[in-house]
């Protein structure tokens, strides 16, 4: 196990005191240390938002790109270097709103990626508007009479799509979250972890208490049983399950390109002279 201090997860942040991002960061650093990964062996792709600032507050390789676009660039690393651990991290707005189309298609691609969604059911950085997962009764400066759309249940969506690994966790239970991250890393393929976390500044409904009262750990659930998983995924009310909801071994994005073998394309060493046969084909 590497020393967890190597990730410098105590850096100063732009997060509010008491923000759910703090325990999430700690759980992530602990999990990385336990998985014995050095900072240069992990690459994090993020979008924009308070959650998406994570690569500045923990030491790993990082691509802090555009709002909603954290998933597409991560595929490139899967092609370039199969040994790299790839983490995509962003909030609910970035992952499910602006980036909605990408999550849909990356579930289909099934790249070997861990996707951590900081789901606080609100937009934090833009100061408190509704997100795709906001509860209907949330009132904001924009949603003055409540939200005009039903909330997305990302777990139900992902299980419905048969994403190869779907889990839910909560920052209220750091040990559980750490375990989910480790399980996601073990899984070969796209692993979505929807993580409940409070936004202490703007979300006065979905507080620590709100989550703690509702979440319960799944027991005796077979995540390989899709019908059972669909049933569990629909639970979102007085009781909300956390744990691995669905898991299926299936070909990953790279598995579908057997000609790549286990080569890292970043190490592809090619000279123009090796490629001259391409020219001859036009003669």
């Amino acid at each position: 196990m590497v020393d967890k201090n190597i990730y410098q997860a105590d850096r100063e942040t732009a997060w509010c005191p008491g923000c759910g991002n703090f325990p999430l960061r700690t759980a992530l650093a602990d999990a990385l240390a336990e998985m014995d990964l050095k900072p240069e062996e992990v690459t994090m792709y993020t979008g924009i938002g308070q959650a998406a600032k994570m690569p500045h507050y923990i030491k790993v390789n990082g691509f802090n790109g555009l709002h909603g676009r954290s998933l597409p660039p991560a595929i490139g690393m899967r092609v370039a270097n199969p040994k790299m651990t790839v983490i995509v991290e962003s909030g609910d707005g970035c992952s499910y709103g602006e980036g909605g189309n990408h999550i849909l298609h990356n579930i289909r691609r099934n790249p070997d990626i861990i996707h951590l969604v900081h789901d606080n059911q609100i937009y934090g950085l833009t100061k408190g508007q509704a997100s795709p997962t906001s509860v209907p009764e949330l009132r904001t400066p924009v949603q003055t009479h409540g939200v005009n759309a039903e909330p997305l249940n990302p777990v139900q969506f992902a299980v419905g799509m048969k994403a190869s690994f779907v889990a839910r966790s909560s920052v209220g239970d750091r040990e559980h979250l750490k375990e989910m991250i480790r399980e996601a890393k073990k899984h070969k393929g796209y692993a979505l972890i929807d993580i409940f976390q409070p936004c202490v500044s703007f979300n006065k409904i979905n507080t620590y208490q709100w989550y703690n009262k509702r979440v319960y750990k799944l027991e005796d659930h077979d995540p390989t049983d899709h019908a059972a998983a669909m049933k569990v995924a629909q639970e979102f009310g007085d009781k909300i399950p956390i744990g691995i909801i669905y898991r299926e071994e299936k070909p990953t994005f790279r598995d579908r390109m057997p000609y790549l073998e286990d080569k890292a394309l970043v190490e592809r060493d090619v000279e123009v002279d090796d490629l001259k046969f391409l020219i001859d084909e036009f003669k």
């Binding site: 732009a14 050095k38 900072p39 240069e40 062996e41 690459t43 792709y45 924009i48 600032k53 690569p55 500045h56 030491k59 790993v60 390789n61 990082g62 691509f63 802090n64 790109g65 555009l66 676009r69 597409p72 660039p73 991560a74 595929i75 490139g76 690393m77 092609v79 370039a80 270097n81 040994k83 790299m84 189309n101 990408h102 849909l104 298609h105 390109m257 000609y259 790549l260 080569k263 394309l265 970043v266 592809r268 090619v270 000279e271 123009v272 002279d273 490629l275 001259k276 391409l278 020219i279 036009f282 003669k283």
Partner: protein, 558 residues
């Protein structure tokens, strides 16, 4: 000698097969050729045609007038009749006693052998009419259907039947195969330039007329061990490619105008994160959906101003299919050298058009990655280290032991961490601006001038109008003292040659495939130099040399 063949019919009749076989065969008979496609945005029906111009001299673009029309449906006879040259011939299934009409019962012949191969009857008949033997055509049939062997015999039989059914009318000779030439379309040429440049990752969403690049590189992915991925949209295309570039691979995307609009934010991301990326924009007329299968040069000012605020960016345009190979290769090297986005402005005219060109010479082509030497990195790696020329040593994740590589779309410090202070912002803007200055000083191609030393007129064009300009100037030269200027690099704008020529008495005539004289506006805003005349065309069709000649007489030398 110049001979113009038009193959016309509806979508789904196999025009492309006819064109592919004729093109290959003419080339092997030693002719120079230029072929263009005029097709509608549909899969079946409509009116489509392809034009193949062949000559014993180099050809730069399409020509007006038809010598031989292969009318695969009756409608095509009426549509193209008025374009026929004197002594031209129409081969069709229309029975007529007119001199120019040659009848062939193609469907009848095909019915007995293979009803799907009507088009091959036309190919056989065309060779007889032109006076060429069918041995090379037979080879072309075998190659074309190599993956569908069962139909080779049917096609060979129909080729022969077509050949025997008509009389020879022209006397084209076999000039002998020339080993130093090749035939390539502009989309494959962009793909070839990229592959020669070590492209490892191409991501794109299909969009006419850029899809040819995607098809060509995808066809090579298994053989080369690279990845070509169809993205869910163009926003994903560019972000995927940027992620691949950050990961250390040569990455590229391609699209047309509407897709480029979706990519705009991503181009800015490449700019501020200093991530190399090549973007091919195969222009078609717009805005929005516009004319999906036609040509234009309307994206210039959009490409130059593609995203909010300022960042180093290069925009260049290939002049023809040959140039497209070299320019794409060059774009990949320059993107890596300056860690910038480079937009290649191709268009449907060269993208879908095929041309005979000299075999690509690789002797001067060298892949230059400009990656950091890990031995030179001391202490904590700074992705955005301040340097004299603004270029920071670039590493990819996993390349450096005990070091990470971070980049950020927020304004950042040397380590890529988010900053908001004005001082660092100023320094970073200055750093990125320096790269643009260095690019302008060291790597820009000045436009190429051809013509007399003291011309009365200079035709000015950029990108794909180069071919028509060369032919137009040749025709004009009999009556006028005229030169022409061809631009490759558009942004940053090379200004030396322009300023030199503007100081003479020559009148500048800007020739562009758009309605708003976009290059004239760009030149004016950068140099104060403006066009004396504009010859503009925005009907979705390319210029021909003849048209430039005619328009010059009508609009310039009245």
């Amino acid at each position: 000698m110049d001979f113009n063949i038009v193959i016309a019919g509806e979508a789904g009749q196999g025009l492309k097969t006819v064109e592919a076989m004729l093109t290959k065969t003419f080339s092997r008979h030693g002719y120079y050729l230029y072929s263009t496609k005029d097709y509608m945005s549909r899969v079946r029906g409509g009116h489509n045609f392809m034009q193949i111009r062949i000559s014993d001299q180099k050809v730069e673009g399409p020509d007006e007038g038809i010598d031989l029309l292969l009318a695969l449906n009756d409608e095509s006879v009426e549509i193209h009749r008025s374009e026929m040259n004197e002594d031209g011939t129409i081969l069709s299934e229309v029975e007529s006693d007119k001199d120019e009409m040659v009848y062939i019962d193609a469907r009848g012949m095909a019915k007995e052998v293979n009803p799907r191969a009507v088009n091959t009857v036309y190919v056989g008949a065309a060779f007889k009419i032109m006076g060429l033997p069918t041995d090379q055509a037979e080879e072309a049939v075998k190659e074309h259907f190599a993956k569908k062997e069962s139909v080779i015999d049917d096609n060979l039989e129909l080729l022969k039947k077509g050949y025997e059914a008509v009389d020879q009318l022209y006397n084209l000779k076999d000039l002998g195969k020339k080993e130093d030439r090749m035939v390539i379309d502009g989309n494959s040429a962009v793909g070839l330039g990229a592959l020669l440049g070590g492209l490892s990752y191409y991501t794109a969403y299909p969009m006419s007329p850029s899809t040819g690049i995607l098809h060509y590189v995808a066809g090579k992915q298994e053989e080369l061990g690279i990845v070509v991925e169809q993205s869910e949209d163009e926003i994903a295309s560019i972000n995927m490619a940027l992620g691949g570039s950050y990961a250390g691979m040569r990455s590229m995307t391609g699209t047309s105008g509407g897709g480029l609009a979706l990519m705009a934010e991503g181009v800015g991301l490449a700019g501020i994160t200093e991530t190399p990326i090549v973007i091919a924009d195969v222009q078609r007329p717009g805005p929005a959906t516009g004319l999906p299968t036609r040509t234009g040069q309307g994206d210039l000012l959009f490409a130059v101003n593609i995203a909010q605020d300022e960042f180093p960016l290069m925009v260049l345009a290939p002049k023809d299919q040959e140039d497209a190979v070299y320019q794409t290769f060059r774009a990949m090297n320059l993107a890596d050298k300056y860690q910038i986005p480079v937009i290649i402005l191709s268009d449907q005219f060269i993208g879908d058009g095929s041309k005979t060109i000299p075999v690509i010479d690789t002797s001067e082509m060298k892949i230059e990655r400009h990656l950091v030497d890990p031995a030179e990195v001391e202490g904590e790696y700074k992705r955005y280290k301040y340097t004299e020329d603004g270029i920071s040593p670039r590493a990819y994740p996993g390349q450096l032991k005990d070091n990470i590589v971070l980049l950020d779309s927020d304004e950042h410090d040397e380590y890529a961490h988010i900053v908001e202070d004005g001082e660092t912002r100023d320094k970073m803007v200055a750093k990125r601006t320096k790269k643009m200055k260095k690019l302008a000083a060291e790597d820009l191609l000045e436009p190429e001038y051809t013509g007399p030393e003291a011309p009365d007129y200079i035709l000015v064009g950029w990108g794909s109008t180069a071919g028509p300009l060369r032919e137009g100037r040749k025709i004009l030269s009999d009556e006028y003292n005229v030169g022409h200027l061809e631009f490759n690099d558009l942004w940053p704008l090379p200004t030396k040659k322009l300023e030199e020529l503007a100081a003479t008495d020559a009148k500048l005539v800007f020739v562009e495939n758009n309605a708003g004289a976009q290059f004239d506006r760009l030149v004016r805003s950068e140099t104060g130099i403006k066009a004396d005349y504009n010859i503009l065309k925005d009907d979705g069709r390319p210029f021909s040399g003849q048209e430039i000649y005619r328009r010059f007489k009508e609009e310039v030398s009245k």
